[in-house]
């Protein structure tokens, strides 16, 4: 249909490629131009390294500065010094219904500006699931509705379905910044959540937690505690001895890093 092309053409001008460098952090992802003065939204997992470069649809490249990062919601905001960009038009993900047509633009496997179409499969608690074919490189790119409005940020492929972060979550991130985080990566274990990696300068690292410690409790409860709005949270954990429950107070970073 002619109309898909029309929407895709506009969407392509608001979609960028995000290049990152280094042996550990190098790679390509996509991003969405969120404001005409250079705010780019992408996935946190696309911007793991300290440096990034943004390539516009017309091939111009700009160095990017990380403005805000929210690993818990897998969102990141980049800033580039480029005037009068074509920002995407945000839609309202809260009114999105299963069955609506959706369009994804990104650079799957390096093909810049590639288009995939499909429908909304279902509305999950955390993600919008779409029956569209995505590939690595779509991460961070836009998922738009039949009017070309961005309703999600493509993030993952789950059981063959495209999973996108709802635009309402992206808007909250742009307005209010990252949600408090511990600065750790966790995996569920029998007794709780084990710390796999830890940022030594992050809240958990500064509170004396170490990789290998097991935080007691469930992930949902930890998230609820982090989102409660307090400046500190009390964390109970195990280290080495199974019978001794330790406790520490983690001071959370202020939620001041609003991106816009």
């Amino acid at each position: 249909m002619h109309a898909f092309g029309e929407i895709a053409e506009k969407l392509r001008r608001s979609t960028v490629q995000v290049h990152t460098f280094g042996r550990r952090h190098g790679g390509n992802g996509s991003g969405v131009i969120w404001s005409a003065d250079g705010l780019i939204l992408t996935n946190a997992h696309v911007t793991r390294g300290p440096e990034a470069e943004v390539e516009l649809w017309d091939g111009r490249r700009f160095p990017a500065r990380l403005a805000a990062r929210d690993p818990r919601r897998d969102l990141a905001a980049l800033r580039i010094d480029a005037p009068s960009l074509d920002p995407a038009v945000p839609g309202d993900s809260r009114t999105l219904r299963p069955g609506e047509l959706v369009i994804a633009v990104g650079s799957p496997l390096g093909f810049a500006g590639a288009l995939s179409t499909g429908i909304v499969h279902s509305i999950g608690k955390q993600w919008i699931y779409a029956d569209v074919r995505l590939a690595p490189g779509n991460s961070g790119g836009p998922l738009a509705d039949a009017n070309g409005r961005v309703v999600g940020i493509n993030t993952a492929v789950v059981n063959g379905l495209g999973a996108a972060i709802p635009s309402a979550t992206a808007l909250d991130f742009v307005r209010n910044g990252a949600r408090p985080a511990l600065g750790v990566s966790l995996r569920p274990v029998h007794l709780g959540l084990q710390i796999l990696e830890l940022d030594p300068d992050g809240p958990a690292g500064l509170a004396g937690l170490r990789a290998g410690d097991v935080l007691l409790g469930r992930l949902e409860d930890l998230h609820a505690a982090l989102d409660a709005g307090g400046q500190t949270i009390r964390v109970r954990f195990l280290r080495d001895e199974l019978r001794r429950v330790r406790e520490t107070v983690v001071r959370l970073a202020a939620r001041a890093e609003a991106a816009a």
Binding site: R97, H121, S122, I123, Y129, A146, G160, L161
Partner: protein
Amino acid sequence: MSTQLAALSNELAAAVKQAEPHVVAVHARPRFSSSGMFWKPGVIVTAEHTIRREEEITVTLPDGHTVPATLAGSDAGTDIAVLKVEAGPARPPHAAAPAPGTLALAIGRSEESGVNASLGIISACSGEWRTWRGGQLDRYIRLDLNVFPTSDGGAVINTAGELIGVATTALSRIAGLAIPTATIERVAEQILTRGHVARAYIGVGLQPVELPEHHKGLIVLSLEAGGPAAKAGVLVGDIFVAVGGRAVAETEDLQGALESTAPGQIVEADVLRGGDARKIKITVGERPRRG
């Protein structure tokens, strides 16, 4: 231009919304739930291959509640299972027979994310079709769309929200199929009245043979002692050429010829014995059930 696209998008979402109150999640196998569809109040149909246990089956209703369900019965041949719950909506409106190229949606449900949909087309249609599991579908309806594991057994609808059939991935290796509404009607009613689908049988072991002038027939190699054919006087070595007026050249043809005959009814067989044609009336029996 893009208003056309928005109109189609709204039509699709409206079709999903119309089917949504009829579609449930079915919890009857490990790991993945499947889907099912209200056929009438208190009666849910789903794909038989997704039912892996006979007890402790639950369904998640459109209002989000998960309630216990009982297995009324199932038919592996057509991949239809019937579940019973306390109450529920009537059947959705049925679509006219679909044509290849028709847009179709597979509608499922999961406990976590509610109703779900995938879009594609009907890629092929034909008349009656025997499944590799031995059942007979009233129509062959092949789907060119993703039937995700949790949507298996859910509803296949057109863009007006009308029912085409129940989605299954177990009847074809190359594509999902829709089990047509006519087959569900036939099979589900039998399951509800008897608890299973009675299959006609006459108790013979057969092999195809060539006959003069390029005709074919089925020669009787073995007879079940006291079975319907033996009682009717059929002998080993007899050759069936037609049953119930339908020519039989392959063993499946006999099953097809018996499909419309209920156990207890009489079917007339055209038989060759020693070169002479004769007609034998057989009172059809019910195939003994395994297990």
